[in-house]
């Protein structure tokens, strides 16, 4: 009978330990949820901010055309203008 009561005490201790440990796990899991939601919101906003990257293709094309025009002007100026005199 004495051993039985000792076993009951051990069980009570086990109950307290289980409650403490699982409470900590639940608290940690609960605290992760807001962080995950914030990360999801930030990632969505970052993805939306990158919508304009498609315009880089237009910029690339415009830069190529502009440099080509500048090269044509440069070639014409090279023919029209005299070179600098050597000093």
């Amino acid at each position: 009978m004495t051993l039985w009561w000792i076993g009951n005490v051990v069980l009570v201790v086990v109950l307290v330990v289980v409650i403490v440990l699982l409470s900590g796990v639940l608290k940690a899991a609960t605290s992760i949820v807001p962080s995950v939601r914030a990360i999801a919101g930030t990632a969505a906003a970052g993805s939306k901010d990158l919508d304009a990257t498609a315009l880089l293709l237009t910029t690339q094309e415009q830069v190529q055309q502009t440099v080509a025009v500048v090269a044509n002007y440069g070639g014409s100026l090279d023919v029209i203008l005299d070179d600098a005199e050597e000093r």
Binding site: M1, W4, W5, G7, N8, L11, V12, V14, L15, V18, I19, L22, S23, V25, L26, A29, T30, I32, V33, V36, R37, I39, A40, A43, A44, G46, S47, L50, D51, T53, A54, L56, L57, T59, Q60, V63, Q64, T66, V67, V70, A71, G74, L77, D78, L81, D82, D83, A84, E85, R87
Partner: protein, 200 residues
């Protein structure tokens, strides 16, 4: 059943209940975390997909711009000479002469000529063509010439009168109009009564 057995069963039931309550709560929170991470993964996937071509596109843009800069710098140095080219750039962007041209490392050591100094013919031609060369600026810190229509005249006005090769403003010759010296289509019937057709 002895009292100790009842206590044992009660404690075991409490342990099981505690396990159920906390584990179920943890499972629910983990499900929320999983759903949130799914959203994160979707957004991150979009970011990766959208930013994938950026590196190549930006590198291509930079390569084109580098080619343009090298071309213009080379042309400027070739036509204006190193000293005047540095002076032109420094006049447009005060302090830029210290950096020099990228394709000409020695240009950083050239002391830019001061504004108002007599430039070579090539530089003057560039000033006339560019309409905003520093040769037409009053002071290095002041605004450069931006008169599009009279840029050439304004550039020439900076030089002494003796350097001007022609008058500032040529007299106009009226070619057309009522006061022109030569009237075309001189017809005698102009100003006379209109001729009438005879009636049958």
């Amino acid at each position: 059943m002895p009292f100790a057995g009842v206590v044992t069963i009660a404690v075991i039931v409490l342990i099981v209940l505690a396990l159920v309550v906390f584990l179920v709560g943890t499972i629910l929170q983990l499900q929320k975390i999983t759903n949130g991470l799914d959203e994160v993964i979707a957004s991150v996937g979009e970011i990766v997909a959208k930013s994938a071509p950026v590196n190549d596109v930006v590198n291509d843009i930079n390569a084109n711009l580098d080619a343009g800069v090298d071309l213009l710098e080379g042309l400027l140095v070739k036509k204006a000479g190193m000293g005047d080219a540095v002076g032109l750039v420094d006049g447009l962007y005060p302090g830029a002469a210290a950096a020099g041209f990228r394709a000409f490392p020695e240009s950083g050591e050239v002391s830019p000529p001061r504004i108002g100094e007599v430039y070579t013919r090539g530089t003057l031609t560039l000033a006339r063509l560019g309409r905003e060369a520093p040769i037409a600026a009053a002071t290095p810190a002041g605004p450069v010439l931006r008169a599009v229509e009279y840029g050439s005249l304004n550039a020439r006005m900076l030089y002494p009168d003796g350097r001007q090769a022609r008058p500032e403003k040529l007299p106009r010759s009226p070619v057309i109009g009522t006061d022109s010296p030569e009237q075309y289509e001189q017809r005698e019937d102009i100003g006379q009564p209109r001729k009438r057709m005879r009636s049958a």
